[in-house]
Symmetry: C2
Subunit: 125 residues, 2 copies
């Protein structure tokens, strides 16, 4: 297994950027530890570590919107990765938007620009 450098932060986490493998859109950023890295490689589905719930988190385990890994890129310092993914359900964000980055800074304010794909109330029951 390719070794990443999990020593840079006290909690042993490094950021993983999920990017749509077709459009190049940045969908979300989450964190991985050694266990989630191993699980991602083994399962072929993006698996993170949630800092709030403090557990392994297979993206899409509640919503069904899993992320199939198409390609993995590793940065020059071995402490950040890009997961190029096929986003099932076309939405990565728990708010129902296609990407977590659905707000753009315009004239000092945040303006919603991203597409809303589903209603969270229909999904998280």
């Amino acid at each position: 297994m390719v070794k990443l450098d999990f020593t840079k932060s006290d909690d042993g986490l490094i950021p993983a950027i999920a990017q749509d493998y077709k459009t190049g859109e940045v969908l979300m950023l989450a964190y991985i530890n050694e266990e989630s890295w191993a699980e991602t490689l083994k399962s072929g589905c993006a698996t993170y570590w949630t800092r709030s719930r403090r557990k392994l988190w297979k993206k899409g385990e509640s919503s069904g919107n899993i992320q199939e890994i198409k390609e993995i890129l590793v940065d020059c310092d071995d402490d950040t990765v890009v997961f190029k993914v096929n986003q099932i359900g076309n939405a990565a964000c728990h708010t129902g938007h296609r990407t977590c980055f659905f707000r753009k800074l315009e004239d000092g304010e945040l303006v919603e620009v991203g597409e809303k794909v589903f209603n969270p109330e229909d999904i998280y029951k």
Copy 2:
């Protein structure tokens, strides 16, 4: 100034993803604190906080490869940003590659796939 949530990590840093505004290529990930966020907005050039040197870091201050901000996206939790940038000099990585993510995982090994734009020895003297 748009408020971001710098409280999620002990060191008051959040990740900023630099993405080429034309190609969508992810160029690098670095960290910002409140001061670098303010400086980025004021100057229009991506300004990070280096964890190793522990200081404000205007990207390109040594190499000349600054990042002109074209657009800023903020995520649903206010704790990650995407800087869509015009990468001056066509290379973001200190190794001389266009992107820090110049290695791809293939059959369990990292293979160099990214373009090398300059020789670091010519730049960092």
